[in-house]
Subunit: 188 residues, 2 copies
DNA sequence: TCGTCCATGTAACGCGTTACATGATTTG
DNA sequence: CAAATCATGTAACGCGTTACATGGACGA
């Protein structure tokens, strides 16, 4: 039982992307810059040190491309240890604390789960998310309804916007589940 | 024209709360811990240093309560400079970059705007938010529709969850506007 | 008086931010 | 050949995190 090294969310994002495709730091930067990937920073001062840490931890390995007439660049690939770190992280149970901290880390895990652990794990994750989300939304809603009168309007509305966001997320889990079930039944 | 000192989001949160009510560090901590206030940290290692910075910047002033038979505590109140910092920050224009970075900072501003600048400013902010949000949601939606086929299912769904969140937020702006207009017409 | 809150702090640490630095290689 | 872009880094800095420290007040 090797103890899990500390990896930041950015680290896991890099691990997942590198799992999808061996990449250079620059490519990863562009990905973050162009595709609004959960709003990770595209700054070299974040990515290169993060890659350095992952490499020092033995989770990825980079080698400078020997390509002829190419700009020198270091392509990073996942090591066995890196893959197992990903596999340990992806299915960690979803807690209410995770939910309150924001969708970001949960959705990052969701995005990588299918490719690394398979669609069954994705479905499992969606179900877990529903189980945590449903009572939380209900509680927030109750709180809002019973306290709406005694709160300043702005405060009530700010809270309401959060509740609506969670409701939309909850609805999404249903949609996502049917999409995965459709896929399992073979119609792609 | 005094230059605006650097204030973190946590700093603004504290400023806004102290504006509402002169408070001690401990009270502010409890607020964060209990009311899921945008998920700010309730840890003393965040709040006390932040209060210290604000005090050193002359934005708040704390005095130890002379209360008889009470536990010693330092109550912080806003200074004139603090109030003017808040007033400068609240109405800064909403950009797409703000939106992509997350609702947190925008909703924090919204929550304080009514009390500090009045309901007209809140309405103004909601209109601005709509103006930025509407085309952004439309673009995301277009992108999703045109690329849905060529993306991995998880990726498409992760993006879709983001889009749904923004859509819910946009709908909320409409609701919030009517609430404020109702209030202006006098029926509370 | 003994534990449990109340209340305020401090120290080490990690990581992201901003800004700067450096070259090589296409493109015009 | 000059300018833009590719590609990788480094340094200073601020702030939040976790964990630890301290001490007074209140209840049993």
């Amino acid at each position: 039982m090797h103890r899990q090294p500390d990896i930041s969310l950015l680290g896991y994002a890099l691990l997942g992307l590198i799992h999808q495709k061996t990449s250079s730091g620059y490519e990863l930067r562009k990905l973050f810059a162009e595709t609004a990937m959960g709003s990770f920073s595209d700054s070299p001062g974040a990515i290169y040190p993060a890659l350095g840490r992952l490499e020092r931890q033995g989770l990825i390995r980079g080698k400078v491309e020997p390509g002829a007439g190419m700009r020198r660049r270091k392509m990073f690939g996942l090591t066995a240890a890196g893959l197992s770190s990903l596999k340990q992280w992806l299915p960690t149970p979803i807690t209410r604390a995770d939910i309150m901290r924001g969708q970001q880390s949960i959705m990052l895990r969701f995005a990588f789960t299918e490719a690394v652990l398979g669609p069954r794990a994705s479905l499992q994750m969606l179900k877990e998310l529903q189980r945590e989300l449903r009572p939380y939304v209900a509680e927030l809603d109750d709180y809002l309804k019973s306290h709406a009168g005694q709160m300043p309007l702005s405060g009530m509305l700010a809270l309401d916007s959060g509740v609506r966001g969670y409701q939309a997320w909850l609805q999404w889990t249903g949609y996502a589940k049917t999409k995965f079930e459709q896929k399992k039944r073979g119609n792609r």
